[in-house]
């Protein structure tokens, strides 16, 4: 029995299936960048950024990319999971996974559900438990944000370390290049009667 509500919800679910959730994206990426990135896998129908209101500022961005068909979405997910895919910057790869209904702000209501509620008075024996639950919820949020902070710190550390390595590597290769270019290497080779590869 398909009420219009359910039909709309089904359509929404179908859209969810076609969408990929991309994570660990640089905040500097823009819609055209993402579009061109994922157009390699198929047609991108829509790109929607998930705004970050409550998280820390340095959090990587997440985006929902809606593809034309479910197969394309699957292809994106599997390729990105197997090979590191980089968007608008190296070398931090993005992360892709299947989208979930909870990720869409504009999702339709789940049909067939009615929410009910009641107030609990302080003299109710359950009040205590409710209080504890509330505290627990707060505790969980705090734990989560702490974990997030830690993760960001680690990411910072890793990136610093990597940029150092990159710079050193670069210097090393530059130096090698220079030697070959200057002919120093050639001269040394002649001296020691070794083979030397000619520059370029």
């Amino acid at each position: 029995m398909a009420t219009p509500e359910e039909a709309a919800y089904d359509k929404f679910l179908e859209r969810v299936r076609r969408t990929v959730y991309i994570d660990e994206l640089t905040p500097l990426a823009t819609t055209p960048v993402i579009e061109s990135a994922f157009n390699q896998f198929g047609t991108v129908k829509k790109v929607s950024f998930i705004p970050n209101f409550l998280g820390p500022k340095e959090l990587p961005m997440s985006v929902l990319v809606e593809m034309e068909t479910e197969d394309m979405a699957q292809a994106v997910i599997s390729t990105v999971s197997q090979l590191p895919f980089m968007v608008a910057g190296m070398p931090r790869p993005v992360r892709a996974s299947a989208a979930e209904p909870n990720m869409f702000v504009d999702r339709p209501k789940k049909p067939g559900r009615t929410i009910r509620f009641r107030w609990i008075e302080p003299n109710d024996p359950d009040f205590d438990k409710a209080r504890r639950m509330k505290r627990l919820a707060r505790k969980h949020t705090a734990e989560n944000s702490f974990m997030l902070k830690k993760q960001l710190e680690e990411a910072e550390k890793l990136s610093k370390q990597q940029s150092e390595t990159a710079v050193t590597h670069h210097k090393k290769f530059e130096m090698m290049d220079k030697l070959l270019y200057d002919g120093v290497a050639q001269k040394l080779a002649d001296r020691y009667s070794m083979k030397c590869f000619p520059y370029r």
Partner: protein, 650 residues
Amino acid sequence: MEESVASEGLEFKWGKKKGVGGKKKDVQFYESFTYDGDEYRLYDCVLVGNASEPDSTEPFIGMIIKIWEHANKHIPKKVKLLWFFKPSEIAPYLEGVPNVLANEVFLASGEGLGLANTNQLEAIGGKCSVLCISKDKRNPQPSDEKFNSADFVFCRAFDVGSCKVVDTIDDKIAGVDVKFIFNRACSEKEATAVQNIEADVNGKSDSLKPNGPLARGASGSVRKIEDSAFESSDCKENSNGCKEEKEKGHYQLAIKKSTLAEERSNKDSGSRGNHYNGKDQESEVKKQLTKQKSMPGEERYSNSFEASGSRTIHSISKKAQENDVKKQLTKQKSMPTGERYSQESSGLDDRPLKKQKLDGSVTVRDGWDTTILQNITSDGKKDTGSFKRPRDKVTIEEVPPEKRSFVKNRDLVVSVSEGKTTKTVTEKGISKKPSFGRAEDKMSADDNERNYQVTEVCRRPDAGKSKWFRSLPWEESMREAEKKGTLVLLQNLDPTYTSDEVEDIVYSALNQQCEARMIERTSVTIPHIGEALVIFKTREVAERVIRRLDEGCLLLSSGRPLVASFAKITPPGKPSLFSGHIKLHKTQTRREMRDAVATSHSSQPNNLEFDMAMEWCLHQARHEQASESVSKRQLEEMKSLRINFKLKLP
């Protein structure tokens, strides 16, 4: 018969002999051996180190299918191992394979390279437990405990010839009858115990042979272990016979009802010696029971209730008739009112009787949509009419009186007759709560679909802010609101709510107009806690709301009280640098590289960038793992609290 062979280094002893073979009958097969203090038997699963990566912590997993040594002692002892593939080993072939568990491995099957290998016996690095969770009927289903304690599980095979994951397991793999690959009928401990008993019974000396895996169907079959010139043991067949009976008993047990089952399990445990893990059986029983319960439950309540999903039978904590049985109204909406009540009330009557049979507490599964029904036990015998009202309560006016009555109900425990008469009084009582200005004070009993959303209709349209669109308007108004102090963060919502529902909730419960936006689920949000940002009209309103929600507890049907606080938004603007993206100087980069950065690409494994990317992948994976374990723990914490909560929700 044992031979001790002193080998260099680690201590080694042969176990039971199996037969001779080889062209010159100089090969001695064995069924077991002891190595380095561990006993290994045929069809045990072992870990073997990776020769090419001696320090890797990821050993290969194999099942011993042959053990032998030559008469010529210079030829080293060998074992033949049938491999299990870890997902990482066959990652490219796992495309489209659903539900790969964290510790799942794949049995090698088919023909070809990689199916099984012969290794030196000393290559074995240790034992491990691989549990078969395949739903194949030849496979004795493992209990939950075994499942949790197994090192690895498997239910699928990987065909090495076609390089595909297959779901069905053939009858013979690598010449080994599949019965040995499936689970043994009981754990090893039991096996030894049983065998001890059986050995005594049969008057034979104890053999350390593994108890042949028992397929329930194949009661009379003789297990043949294929090998050349193998002498099948009589003892084995006998033990199979005896075992089967016990097994059958064991399984029948699982199907019976709880009390009976418990009795029997106790009996059986006694008979099996103390090695038997009664818990094991209980958990099996538990499993069977839950299936059972949900079935009669449904019939009984004629689809107005569904017996709660998982009931744990704790012989210890007999809070018996624990009153927090939450029932889900599966088709509440579609149920016409009158029928519903009659069904429910009849269900009620039956319920207490049934409950009394149950030992142990009945714990409730957390359900998102819970109905008010509680304390069926206590009230079952009582005036079922009095239940009619509570049952469909939806509006808040009704809630308070009901709630009070339920409060008392809730305290009732075991005995059914413990109803309190005051209950009925309060039911019709006056609502203590200030009326929220709703027209009807008390919904008539016949009104089926009560939900406060009925009031949604009369929401006043606000100037231009009736719908949500994710773009600037919301963001702007949000930041405005934050400045003015009217932005409130609501937490502990059900994450599947939508913004509209949140607005409705606020309206109905707090009688305030607002604009709400649910925070989307991302990889960094807590999966089981939903959050929403709500904008109120004025700061006083916001304060009032927060205070109200803090002091009182607004309980939603998901079983969670709302938590409210002033919201702090991250300041707008994007960070200038994204950690992880390395920017080399312009002079340092060449044109190709700059192009590469500008376009998005997948990295190939042959350059530096790939290595760095891998490091990032590692970092991401680590964080995912951490989040997962944290949220699992948090979920459990929430659940435990919820169970105690004994939520009664109208």
